[in-house]
């Protein structure tokens, strides 16, 4: 069970949150074509390593959070609010 430190509520059990997937993909602007939207909706890096992702604190403050989490060790490098700019783990760049 992961323990996630919500920037608002403090450290909480994973069960209070809902996972919401890859945070490195960003919704294309309204004038973008289908290819861009296909990439946004379907295509993923799915890294074995550091992953930038969304979590929703459903049974807490109901805020979306961003995490940098390692998909093998589950170490959480950073947590931020939806609008924070997080520093990725060393050597990582977000697309």
């Amino acid at each position: 069970m992961l323990r996630i430190t919500c920037p608002h509520c403090g450290v909480r059990d994973e069960v209070e949150f809902r996972y919401r997937g890859d945070a490195s993909v960003q919704r294309p602007t309204a004038d973008a074509d289908a290819t861009a939207f296909v990439a946004y909706v379907y295509e993923r890096d799915n890294p074995r390593g550091w992953h930038h992702e969304w979590w929703y604190h459903a049974a807490g403050c109901r805020q979306y959070l961003q995490l940098w989490r390692h998909t093998v060790t589950h170490t959480i490098h950073a947590v931020g609010t939806a609008t924070d700019t997080l520093t990725p783990p060393h050597g990582m760049v977000d697309r």
């Binding site: 069970m1 323990r3 919401r20 909706v41």
Partner: protein, 993 residues
């Protein structure tokens, strides 16, 4: 004293409190504090079980959780609890213990014929035979194999009500700074070091008392008492015994099971043992789990009477029981000598000690007290059938030395640290040549290991290690928090631990060459030959060898024979043990009941129930309820099954008026300067143009272009909307809305609040709906001008402030009223009361379904996550301009093609023909090809016979044609006419009446 073999006073047993239980129906007397195993041993019982494959007679091998052989079923009023190690089950009066895996009886087991075929049943034999004829597997071979396999018994049938009662306590959640696992020398010393330091500590011990190895050495009693006293002075340091850590998880989470002592369980022997799960979050863990003694592979090492040396010591010290009258000790290490010496001192005659080493410090001590030690010797065979009779001893070079008459063989091949938790927590194993064992190490950020698990063998060594490790952890924690000045500086010299005796190194000894079966896994009957055969067949990796031979896969998970099997494999591979390694250890450290994990969430408590605000009124109206997610919704106001009561309710709506409860619809309050813009983005159709006081039907898409949900949304103010969702999609929609608002468009000022629980919502539908409503809203103008179709207004209903909506799902003149949920019963009853002269009936979900099918409205049966706006004929609702979720991908060719399944109405061509929901639509010319489905159907109250809705490939183009609705499941085939789904009142005249 109870039992002929009880020769002295045990630490745990109370001679003044006899306890009587039964074993296979025979009454056995033991003492309070005994385990089933100690009581049986005291009674002279040897044979307690049968092995898995060969049904060989088996006895008691250990004195603890690692027991592979002495598994028994415990009977309780709820049914048997299978596979309990007799070595840890405490006896209570009336306890019924039954042996396993034998028929008809333990001493005469017909399945023991398997032993005759043992040569055939080598590793993986079942992969090589039983293949022909193919049908015979399910009918002959598999049933026979299944009956022969398996140990204990679980009732196949449910036993009445009792089984639905919680067997266990609610799980407890704990938080601590340091979790110490194991209260042996190391764990106690560590806890004592942390006492008073200001950090929160939990010390968990699975044994019935704290002490671990110190319980077996009387010299340590004073130290133990002093340590426990120190620990007790700190209220932030909690000690829990009978509490076993069962798994280590990410982020410092550990799970433990606490068994409540029999005295706390009330029900006596008949009740199921009560236990509770503890979920523990800790900043650091200190693993002090000790070590397990290892088996030696020699011929006949499974005979009842062969036991680990340490277990013999435990039976003596803890329960005052001598496990044999003339035991032999076969050991390769000095620690095991303690068992022989202690038994000797207690008056038991030690037949001999067999030691492969040429000499040792312990051997010298044993010889000094008069025990015979055969140096440079090994036991080559243990003989006897249901019981040990003799052992053959040979010199290390193989030359026969002597035959010894004995009734018990104490084995010790050294110790393997209890390292599973460390590996799971993220630690690693280090090979220690001096111990011929893997010691466990943890990275600092997680904590540390101490004592025997870390390779610090010997009580004093372990205690010192525990103290030093605790000091290190305290320092590490102090660097992340303000240090507490009360921290103790160290143990006072007065209660310094007794010194460890001098020990000589062990000699790694895994297998003694011999002729008979030499087991590495006792429960699963895996022999050294099985391991070698697995190797020969290419199953050379430790994980392959494990799976092919089933070595280490029994209930004890290779606790005493795991390393041994790995050593045999290493020898076959010509490699070292560190190169071969051990299989991955997994939770659970000790097998854990479903009941403990389930906690109180069993039976009807599995999930919370969400009840309608007017639930009590529905009950009073004799409603049958149906689960919808967590909700219970009134299905029909009758306990009789069948269509009659449903159609009566539907008819009331069509002909007079009905009142329905729609309170489970999701309701989301949307407020803010950007609320309208936000809804334009969320919905595929437009909401910014909606006037205040009006409602509009909306469809929202997922970003992939499929429909997510639909519902009506009302504008309550310039900046204020009330959005409704379907019951099923409420949570998903809410999360979607928050995602779009917080993540995709955080620049918009919108506040979303779930108000589902705030409002009860009732629909009043039918030609007389207005009449009814007027009676509970006397002053209100309900005319079409004041409250037109799709109006949404504040109102008082039966004197309660709420909201009035003019919306219709049924196709009739209809309103919905919303009132605060704490006023629900009152308003609901007022509506029914007011409607009585009008012929009102309450109507449930089933009737609503009839009504909406007739009207051609869709629900989750049609909105199955794959449907698009085009499929439902909603393409005109899609905004031509402006961005909205799903806009781009909804236009992909695959989502707009006219060959996709489209919503149609269905009517059997014969009025007496039924429709089946889930029937498949086929063209009679190609009767095996699915071209559509009947998604929902109902007998109609508007027309004669059944009507339905379906999704049909190119459906709109097929209107007027005839197809078959087939249900091979029911052997039915019905000709249907494809009609428009909106055949009833297409102009909405009734709705607007």
């Amino acid at each position: 004293m109870s039992g002929p073999r009880r020769i002295t006073t045990g630490l745990l047993t109370d001679a003044s409190r006899p306890v009587e239980f039964s074993f296979d129906g025979r009454r056995v007397r033991g003492l309070h504090g005994d385990t089933v195993a100690s009581a049986l041993l005291a009674d002279g019982v040897r044979l307690v079980g049968r092995s898995f494959k060969y049904h060989r007679p088996r006895g008691i091998v250990t004195a603890g959780h690692e027991e592979p052989c002495a598994l028994v079923d415990i009977q309780s009023a709820d049914g048997p609890a299978p596979n309990r190690p007799a070595t840890i089950v405490e006896i209570v009066d009336g306890l019924e213990v039954v042996s396993q895996n034998r028929w008809p009886s333990l001493s005469f087991d017909l399945m023991a014929v398997n032993g005759l075929f043992a040569p055939l049943f080598s590793a993986g034999f079942y992969y090589k035979t039983f293949m022909r004829p193919a049908w015979a597997w399910e009918r002959i071979f598999e049933p026979a194999i299944r009956r022969a396999a398996g140990l204990g018994v679980l009732d196949r049938a449910e036993r009445g009500q009792q089984t639905t009662q919680p067997h266990t306590e609610e799980p407890l959640h704990d938080h601590t700074d340091v979790l110490i696992i194991g209260a042996g020398a190391a764990g106690l010393a560590a806890a004592r070091r942390l006492a008073g330091s200001g950090v929160r500590v939990m010390l968990l011990e699975r044994d019935v008392v704290a002490g671990g190895g110190t319980l077996l050495d009387p010299r340590w009693a004073a130290w133990r008492t002093a340590a426990l006293e120190d620990i007790a002075t700190d209220a932030r340091l909690r000690v829990l015994t009978r509490t076993q850590v069962i798994g280590a998880y990410d982020h410092g989470v550990f799970a433990a099971v606490e068994a409540l002592p029999p005295s706390a369980q009330g029900g006596g022997a008949a009740a199921s043992p009560r236990e509770r799960l503890r979920v523990i979050r800790t900043r650091r863990v200190l693993l002090a789990t000790g070590a397990n003694e290892r088996w030696i592979a020699c011929s006949g090492n499974d005979r009842p009477g062969v036991m680990l040396a340490g277990a013999a010591l435990a039976y003596l010290r803890r329960y005052g029981v001598a496990v044999a009258e003339r035991p032999v000790l076969f050991a390769n290490n000095d620690w095991a000598y303690e068992s022989a010496v202690a038994l000797h001192e207690a008056g038991v005659r030690i037949a001999a000690i067999i030691d492969p080493r040429p000499a040792s410090a312990a051997a010298a001590r044993a010889t000094a007290v008069g025990i015979t030690v055969h140096h440079g010797a090994m036991v080559t065979a243990i003989e006897g059938r249901r019981e040990v009779r003799t052992v053959q001893v040979a010199r290390s070079d193989g030359q026969a030395l002597t035959t010894i008459q004995t009734d018990g063989v104490l084995l010790s091949g050294g110790h393997q640290p209890e390292s599973a938790l460390a590996t799971q927590a993220g630690g690693s194993l280090q090979w220690r040549e001096d111990l011929a064992a893997f010691a466990a190490v943890l990275p600092d950020r997680l904590g540390a290991t101490a004592g025997a698990v870390a390779g610090s063998f010997g009580l004093a060594t372990a205690a010192r290690d525990g103290e030093a490790t605790a000091a290190r952890i305290a320092a590490a924690l102090a660097s992340t928090r303000t240090p507490d000045t009360r921290a103790r500086s160290g143990t006072s010299p007065t209660d310094a631990p007794p010194a460890d005796p001098e020990t000589s190194p062990l000699l790694a000894l895994w297998e003694v060459p011999g002729r008979g079966k030499a087991f590495v896994d006792l429960q699963h009957d895996v022999t050294v030959e099985d391991i070698r055969q697995a190797h020969r067949e290419g199953y050379t990796h430790i994980e392959h060898a494990k799976r092919y031979s089933t070595h280490g896969m029994a209930t004890d998970q290779g606790r005493i024979g795991g390393l041994l099997g790995a050593a045999v494999l290493a020898a076959a591979r010509g490699q070292t043990l560190p190169e071969v390694g051990l299989p991955t250890p997994r939770p659970y450290i000790h097998p854990t009941t479903f009941g403990a994990l389930a906690g109180g969430e069993v039976g009807e408590h599995l999930r919370p129930v969400r009840k309608f605000p007017a639930h009590a009124s529905h009950v009073a109206l004799d409603a049958t309820f149906v689960p919808a997610g967590l909700w219970l919704r009134p299905l029909v106001y009758s306990q009789t099954t069948g269509w009659e009561p449903v159609l009566r309710e539907s008819r009331a709506v069509r002909e007079a008026v009905g009142v329905g409860d729609a309170s489970s619809l999701g309701k989301v309050d949307v407020q803010g300067p950007d609320a309208a813009r936000f809804l334009d983005y969320i919905y595929a159709n437009r909401f910014s143009t909606l006037a205040v006081g009006k409602a509009r039907y909306g469809i929202m898409l997922r970003e992939d272009g499929c429909l997510l949900d639909d519902g009506t949304t009302s504008r309550l103010g310039e900046r204020h909307f009330l959005l409704t969702t379907t019951t099923a999609n409420h949570t998903a929609v809410l999360e979607h809305l928050e995602f779009q608002s917080q993540v995709v468009h955080p620049e918009w000022d919108v506040q979303l609040t779930d108000v589902t629980d705030q409002w009860a919502q009732f629909s009043i539908a039918g030609p007389r709906a207005r009449d009814l409503l007027q009676r509970v809203m006397p002053g209100q103008d309900l005319s079409n001008t004041a409250v037109p179709f799709m109006a949404a207004l504040p109102a008082h209903i039966a004197g309660v402030r709420g909201r009035l909506f003019r919306i219709s799902f049924s196709g009739e003149l209809a309103y919905e009223v919303a009132v605060p949920s704490d006023r629900a019963d009152e308003v609901w009853n007022a509506l029914l009361e007011a409607g009585r002269p009008l012929g009102v009936l309450p109507y449930g979900v089933d009737a609503l379904n009839t009504l909406r099918i007739e009207k051609g409205h869709v629900t989750t049966a049609e909105l199955d996550g794959n449907t698009t706006a085009h499929d439902l004929g909603f393409e005109r609702m899609l905004k031509a301009d402006g961005d909205y979720v799903g806009r781009v991908l909804a236009r992909r060719p695959g989502l707009t093609s006219s060959t996709r399944r489209q919503l149609v109405g269905l009517r059997p061509t014969r009025k007496d023909a039924k429709l089946v929901a889930g029937a498949i639509l086929v063209d009679p010319a190609a009767p095996k090809v699915n071209i559509g489905d009947v998604t929902s159907c109902t007998p109609s109250v508007l027309v004669e016979g059944w009507v339905g809705l379906g999704l049909l490939a190119g459906g709109r183009g097929r209107i007027g044609s005839r197809l078959l609705a087939v249900s091979p499941l029911h052997g039915e085939s019905t000709e249907v006419e494809i009609i428009t789904p909106h055949w009833f009142d297409p102009e909405n005249a009734r709705v607007r009446a």
